[in-house]
Every structure is written in C-alpha cells, then in structure tokens.
Symmetry: C2
Subunit: 575 residues, 2 copies
C-alpha cells in the first residue's frame, strides 16, 4: 500500500540523504514508522530521501492529520506534537530533528525561555528518542535567579535549565478558588506549594513512598539513604542509527547496587531531569552539563560532558531523596535492550501522582514542630549565604578561567620564548670550534628544551587542576540558581500561615483550618531546611575534596618542573 503524506512546510535539504519539499507537496512514504524523527520517502519527481516527520502530514483513510499539531497529549503518536505546547504561542513551525552534526531546520521563532535553554541546534535536544516524548515540558520561561525573590541583582549568567515548569499538572488539577495567589507564574503556585498549604493536595501515599525528615545535630535533615551506592559513567561511544546517517553518543552507566551496565544518551538524562524537577518542589535537582549546539562529537566536548555527567551523577546519588526515587532507579537499572520495560517505567514516571503539591504528602516530619521564627531567620541567613557564595563563585570562576587562559597562552609563550632564546644562544656558541665548549653548548641547548617543555606543562596543567574547579563551580551555580525558587516556596507557605492567623483573629477562619495550614507549612519548612542542610554538607565535602585535588595537582606540577630543571642542571656537571 502506497502511503502518502503532504508537506506542511517548506523543507530545504541541508545534508546528503535529505529530501527538499515544498509546502503542500505530496510525498510517497516507505513506512509510517519514522526513525529518529525522520521519514523516508520520495517526491513526484522520483527523488528519494529523508524528511522531518514533523514537516509532513500522513494521509490516511482513518486519520487524515496526526503527524503534527497535537497538543497536550502525553501519549500521542506524533513525536514533535508536544514541541508546540507549553505556552509557546509564537511557534509557527515545528522543530525538525537535527541530522548528524548538521544544523537542523529549527522553528523560525523561539520564545524567550526556549532560547535561554538551548542555543542553536542540538540533536540531543531536538531529537526524539521514543514515543511519548515530553521534551516540550522542559523548556519554558525560567525565572531570573535573584529576580523573583527580593529582586536584588539580575541574573549574571545563563540559567541552563529551567525549573519553572514544575507542577504544571498539579496546577491543572487544583480546584481551589479562595485564598489563592493571583500570580499564576509564582514559583509558590507553580511548584504546587500553595495548593499543598491550602490543603488542596491529595493522593495515595504508600509506605514505600514515605520520605522522612529527621531531627539531626544541626536541625532537620533528610534521613540517610540506608542503601548507598555509586555509579560509574564510562566510555562514551559514538553510535549510529538509520543507515549510519544519524549519530549519537551513548554513555555506559554501571550502578554499584546492580553491577549491571546500562547505556544512556544525554536526552535520557534530560528526560529524567525534567521528571525530577517536576516531582520535587523543594529539592535542588543538580543541573545537567550544558547543551552545546555544535561539535557534539568532538573529543573535548564528549570528555567535558562526561565529566559533567559524572559530577551530576555524584550529586544525584549523594542525595538521600533523589538517589532513592523510582524514576532515577528506573533510569539506572532498566535494561537498555528491554524496550518494553523502559517504556513501562517511563509511562509510570510520567503519570506519577506524587509530584509537586502531592510530593509534600509523602514527607514525614520530626514529632516536634519547628519554630517558624527560627526557620525564617535560618532561611534568611541562607539567602544571604547563597548570594555571597554566588558572587564569589562567579568571581572565582572568572579568575580561574582567565588564569587557565593565561597559562595556556601567556605563560606557555614566555617559557617557550626563553627556551628558544637559550637554544639560539647555544646555536651561536656552536659557531665556536673550541672543543672545550661543546659540553656547555649541549647543556644550554638542553636547557632551552627544558624551558619549552615547561611552557608545555603550563599549557597542559589547567585541564588537570583548574577545569575541575570550574566544573565544580558550574554545578554549584546550578544549585544556587535553584534555591531562590525553593526559598520562595517556603516563604509563600509562611505567608499563608500569617494570613491564616490574621483570618482567625478576624474570625474569618476556624482554628482547625489554620492549624492545618500551620502543619503543612511545617512540612514544607522541614523539607526546605533538610535540603539546605544537605546542600551545606555536600558543599563542604565537594569543596574540600576539590581544593585538595587542586593542590595535589599543583604540587605534582611544580615537582615535575623541578625535576625537569634538575635534569637540565645535571647536564652542566661535565660541561
């Protein structure tokens, strides 16, 4: 049966194997099943090639138009349907999957939030990976870092991943009409924090879903993970699909608790990240390493992304709540070859009820309620702290970045210029025919080589001891970007408590209702303080380890230089 499709937009082939089409052109498809977002077909002139599935409408008897423009469907057949959802009203054209490393035909108009998320083409971003892609939920308008709490200081660097889409589902489910915040874009509202505080959240919480906040030495903290594990990320390999014309990088993950390797692509991480952000309103989900538009298959980029993913993984498994959550476990343990199991787990995660407002239902708190004044003071202190840490991280990052650049360029050049001058001198000295000077000439020449080598050492060093610092700072800058929203949720809850107290005083609310708000604010506060405590603990752990690593590397570096110079010095012994 000849399967036909109509082009919805003009598409200009930019790579071998692609087929240019005009709007309304009729194509013959070889299969209804696309591969990686591409359909293979031919046009009326008999030219054959690939077209983006999202650019065509398959002409069927029973379903004349399913290839695009579906919206809000979490189980639709079309891959890029959701690209058009999420409030991107300006979209005039869907995104086509990118093709190899080439730039893909992107939608012509990107809303702000999208641009902020990903610059240019990235097939990890645009590309689909199986049915029911929900990538469209990830972007959206990201709140400025410090803009939406107290407005002190605009964001000074690009927020690579938005947290703003949290709890869209919950928002939709909510039916409350009184006492609600009018600002639908407030994190407090979007995260589901408001709905929860107002008692509008409801869900069935199993014992296994329970998340405990316990009272620790320094205040509320997440109960430790009783089954700690680690996970290695090895050997990113380039894989090809679809007649070798589509490539992607696959990472090998081996969690210690299963000892079974699974293969994951960046977009799997990305999907997981979106689930986590949606599920946990007051947990700082570590940001993924930044996307990159071009050069995705370059060694440097692959190595850098792998390091970023290792850092990310490290923070995931360190977190008592994140490490244990179902969707992460599914990601870590589901066999790469069992597609059915993967899809099951994926659907389950996407249908999870205990996200956003309902997440708070899973939290059990220490028996004694917190003193809200004390909580407020702690939170305010933390806010000041994060501001300072953010400033100093930015400064350190800029300094370290510049220092690395100087070592790679200036320092290297200076040492190598000295090396060359010594060599030049030794060459001049060789013009002298005196037997007794040949030893000296060789020694000076060797000294010249030594300085050139030292210059090389300087240029190689930053990747060993400065890049890791920048990686660390990038991860923490992600956390610091998360906290304003987290704090905002807690602040919002506290405001509701104060309002309810006022309402009680004015006789507009009964004490039981106000008590419920109080209890629920206590839950949010416990979770927030536990998250802050966790942040401090990993911060101290990570910065200590990284500073030690840095200093050890620096020591080795200077010892290596010293060794090289000692070698040169010895050459003069018999000169």
């Amino acid at each position: 049966m000849a399967l036909r499709a109509r082009a919805l937009y003009d598409f200009n082939s930019e790579n071998q194997g692609e087929l240019s089409v005009k709007e309304n052109e009729i194509l013959t498809l070889y299969s209804e099943q696309d591969i990686e977002g591409w359909l293979e077909g031919s046009n009326g002139r008999g030219e054959r090639g690939l077209v983006p599935a999202s650019y065509v409408e398959i002409l069927k008897n029973d379903a004349p138009s399913t290839a695009n423009n579906n919206s809000c469907s979490t189980s639709g057949q079309s891959r890029y349907a959701n690209v058009l959802t999420g409030g991107f009203e300006n979209f005039s054209k869907p995104a086509a999957p990118s093709f190899g490393t080439s730039s893909a035909p992107l939608p012509q108009q990107h809303p702000q939030g999208y641009k902020q998320h990903s610059q240019g083409s990235d097939d990890d971003w645009d590309d689909d990976w199986d049915d029911n892609s929900t990538v469209a939920e990830e972007p959206g308008s990201a709140g400025g870092r410090y803009n939406d709490f107290e407005g002190n200081g605009p964001s000074t660097y690009t927020v690579s991943t938005s947290t703003a889409s949290r709890g869209n589902a919950q928002q939709a489910r909510s039916s409350a009409t009184v006492g609600r915040n009018l600002n639908r874009f407030s994190t407090f509202v979007k995260s589901g924090g408001e709905a929860f505080v107002l008692g509008e959240a409801s869900g069935f919480v199993k014992d296994g879903d329970k998340i405990c906040v316990v009272m620790g030495q320094y205040g509320p903290e997440w109960q430790e993970n009783p089954y700690p594990f680690t996970c290695t990320i090895d050997d990113p390999t380039k894989q090809t699909k679809f007649k070798g014309m589509k490539s992607y990088i696959s990472y090998k993950l081996t969690p210690t608790h299963t000892q079974t390797q699974v293969n994951r692509r960046y977009k799997h991480f990305d999907w997981l990240y979106a689930r986590l952000v949606e599920k946990f309103p007051v947990i700082s989900v570590p940001h993924l390493p930044e996307k990159q538009a071009t050069g995705r298959f370059e060694e440097d980029f692959i190595s850098k992304r792998r390091k970023g993913l290792i850092w990310w993984m490290n923070h995931m498994i360190s977190h008592p709540v994140l490490a244990r959550c179902d969707v992460f476990q599914h990601f870590l343990t589901c066999s790469s070859t069992d597609e059915k199991a993967w899809k099951q787990g994926k659907r389950k995660a996407e249908k999870d009820e205990l996200v956003g407002a309902n997440f708070f239902l899973t939290i059990s708190t220490p028996p004694t309620p917190l003193d809200f004044q004390e909580v407020e003071s702690k939170i305010d202190g933390f806010k000041t702290f994060t501001k300072r840490m953010d400033d100093s991280s930015l400064q350190l990052n800029a300094t370290v970045n510049e220092f690395a650049r100087k070592q790679i360029t200036g320092f290297k050049k200076e040492y190598q210029k000295v090396g060359m001058s010594f060599k030049f001198l030794s060459q001049a000295f060789e013009m002298d025919q005196q037997v007794y000077s040949s030893g000296l000439n060789q020694a000076i020449s060797f000294t010249g080589d030594t300085y050139e080598a030292i210059g090389e050492y300087f240029s190689e060093q930053p990747s060993k001891d400065l890049d890791p610092i920048m990686d660390l700072l990038a991860l923490y800058q992600g956390h610091l970007a998360n906290f304003p929203d987290i704090i905002h949720v807690q602040k919002g809850a506290l405001t509701k408590v104060k309002e309810s107290q006022k309402h009680v005083e004015e006789g507009k609310m009964d004490r039981t209702q106000a008590g419920g708000i109080n209890d629920r604010c206590n839950i949010i506060s416990c979770a927030t303080l536990a998250e802050i405590q966790h942040f401090h603990q990993i911060r101290v752990r990570d910065f200590k380890a990284q500073m030690q690593h840095h200093l050890q590397q620096q020591i080795s570096f200077f010892q290596k230089i010293t060794g090289k110079l000692e070698e040169a010095l010895q050459k003069y012994d018999n000169a």
Copy 2:
C-alpha cells in the same frame, strides 16, 4: 688676604648652599683650594655660597687667569681645564661639578662622543677627585660596533665607554710620513697598531714589563698569571664631603693578595678604565657598569652597580695581562688614606710610555711565527662567531628582560587574583554558621594566602635568577663591542704585510724592512689570538656558572612554591 675671582659665565644656583653669579661679577673667595670642584665665596651683596671652580677666574697678582681655558696641560692647576680639550671645539662653557644628586650646570653643547658616553648629569663623571684629572681623555667618538668593520649591521645598543681615544699620545709622537693610513680615525691608526707595524714605536721595556704569549693547546694564549688573586667589593657606603653637601658612594675593595681594604669611588674605576683602554690596543677591557644620570643614591641602583663592578672586577682579575698591569695594581693596593702615594701612582700611569703602539713592544711571542693565512681564517671565524653571539645575546637579553617583567607584573597578578578569589570564597563560606565548615573555610583562606605568596615569589624571583643573566650578557655585550676594533687592528697589520710584500716585489722596499713588518704583524696576531682564546675561556666558564646558578635558583624557587602548596594542602587534613 682677600682672594678675588671673576665669574666667567652666568651660574644659577640650583641647590641650597650654591651661589648664583653673573658673568664678570667679582667674588671674594675664602680659599684658593677648591673642594670637589667647588669654591666657597661671597658676592658684592654679601651672599655666601659655593660656585663651580671652573666658572670663575681667580684674580692673582702673578697669574691673572688660571682657572680655566687651559688646554693640553697634564699638570695644570685647574680641575676642569682638560674638559675643554680632546677635540671638543664646540664647547662654549665648561662643566661644573655636580652637587649631591642635583643636576649640575653642564656645558651647553656636548659633542657626539660625550653624549654617547654619559647621558645627563652624573657627579661620578663630572666631578673631579684630585689634581690632574684626565677625564677629558676618556670620551671621544666611539666607533659603532660592527659599523667600522664590514659595515654589517649598525650598533643596536649604546656603547657606554669609548675605545676611540686610544693612543692619542702615540699618534702625536709618530713621525712617519710614508705608507700611513690617511684615515686618522681608523682604529688601526688610533690604537697605535699602524705605528707599531711600521716600526715607529719605540720605548724602553723592562723585564717586568714583558708580556708573554705562549703556544697553548688551542693556539696562542696569554701566559697565565702565576700569582692569581681575587678581590671582593663590599658595602658601598654613602660618604659626604664638604660640610655634608656633597655625597658620593664608596666601595670597599679587598684584594686577596694584600688582604688590605681600599676605598674606591666609581670615578676611580672610570679613570682606571680609561688608562687600560689607552694602554692595551688588542685587549678587550671589560666595560664598567653603565652610568646613571639620576637616582645614584637609590638602593637599587647602588646594589646594581655594585654587582656590575663585581662582574667587572672578576673579568679584570681573570685576565692574565690586565690583572698584573701596574695601573690596576696601583688601583687595588694603594692606601685610600695615602694621598701622596695615590697621586704618584696616578701620574706614573698617566705618563706610562708603554701604551698603544709601544704596548706591542712588551709582547714576546712563541718561537715559531704564525701562519698568517691560518690566522686570517681564525679571525674571520671569530668575527662570524661574535656576530652570532651578539645577535643571540641581544635576543636572550630582550627575552629575559620581558620574562622578568612578566613575572613581576602578569604572573604575580594572576596568582594573586586567584589567591584573592579563594579568599573571597572563604569569606562567603564563613557566612554559613555550620560548625563543620569552619575548618574548610580556614583552609581555603590559607590557600588564598598561599597563592598571594606565590605571586610574591614570582615577582621576587627575577632579581635572583634573571638579573644575573642580564648582568652577564651586559658584560659580554661590552666585550663583543670591543672586538671589532681589536680585529680591525690585526686586519690593518695584515694589510700592511700584504702591501709590503707587494712593495718588495715592485722593488720599492727591501726585504729586511718587509721582514720587520712581518715580525711585528706576527706580534699583533699572537696578541689578538691570545685575547680571543682568553675570551672563549672566560665565556665558557662564565656561561656555565651562570646557567648553573640560574637553574639552581629556579629549582629552589619551584621547591619553595611546592613547599608552600604542601603547607596549604595539610590545612585540609582536619577540615
């Protein structure tokens, strides 16, 4: 008796204690004896102060005008008489002694050579130091480095001390009229080389004056000094004279063969240098460290000059001929307090007959005469060598200078910026009240201090291991500047040999006369090759030692950094 004087020029007081005078103004002097070139007196208005002795004419019954304008007198009473001699026809006004660190009233027009010698005011230069100053003989037009032999490449740095005035006396004595070079400014002529080759030199040579060139392993060489010694230069101290208004720096010299300390000023070195240059036509007299117009009493300059003088002394005592010569021995051993002995030795040196052309009379050569073709080839090779060495020294000097500058500025700044950023981070971390992070905060703060210290180390290092290289190069650049003249003398002699052979062939000269020219060219060639050999030996010795010193210092430097980093690393042990 009231001693009167008439001002010969306007003099404007520029320092406290000086007295401004107008031309023809009559002054009353307190003493006919000047102190350091200054006379104390008062004017008609009763104002009292110092005037430059050279600006006034003492009005005596028996000698109405002796204070200036004497010329060519080697024993005149006036200190600055000789400043006007030496072909400086443009002089309209004599130099006044400088006064303290102030700029002295210099003559209004300086001939080229003078300017080349000393830029601006320098009391070591202008100042007198006892009777019979012969400073005027030192300047003169210095030949460009490579300009006057083959003209390949102009001089690229200022020649600080001229060699051009060599043998003026001998030139005057010469009475030859045939076969003479018409170019009176040729080094060959001026050095006395020509006069000697033509058999015009004559003098009484005592056994003690004999200088032996022996045949060594690598060709002719100076006979070693059988009584080697060294000489330390310690504690330059600022001394004052003349009611504390005149200051100068005195260096303490202690030669090992006398173990008696003598005090010498820079101008004593300068006087000695002039004697040596005059006396030895084919010996490369090490250049003195450069004069400096301002800041002569600044610590840095004093320390730098002392180091330069130590290098200079080292080369003087290393030279078998220079180390033993009378004027140097007089300089090293004459008691600083025995003024009479000093003056005697000084006069003797200035009246030395065995200078220039006559110096060659003192040389005894190995029994077998040299093969002039071989000599020519050796000299040509050396010429090429010096050119290459000069180029590479200049390049090395520029590189090392820039490297030093970068370490003092850029390297220091980079490390200190990193240090400050770490400190800034630790300060941000201190905002956190967590007990468990205080150890880390302190450790990071200490790391910040460490980086600031490393920055400091970088800025301090060049004075330890790069400055000495530059000092070495400066000294050798001096030698390299000397050799063109030395080679020129030998080349000139060889040309005379060729001419005489032609004359013999043409029957214009008898064989005996030509034989004499041949023998005398052999003497010059032996001396030249001996000097070249000496140059290579000290070059290998000096560069080896300096490279070793440099590397040792660099090793210590990097070890110091490593040690500091290890200290910082330890701070994290209990963090």
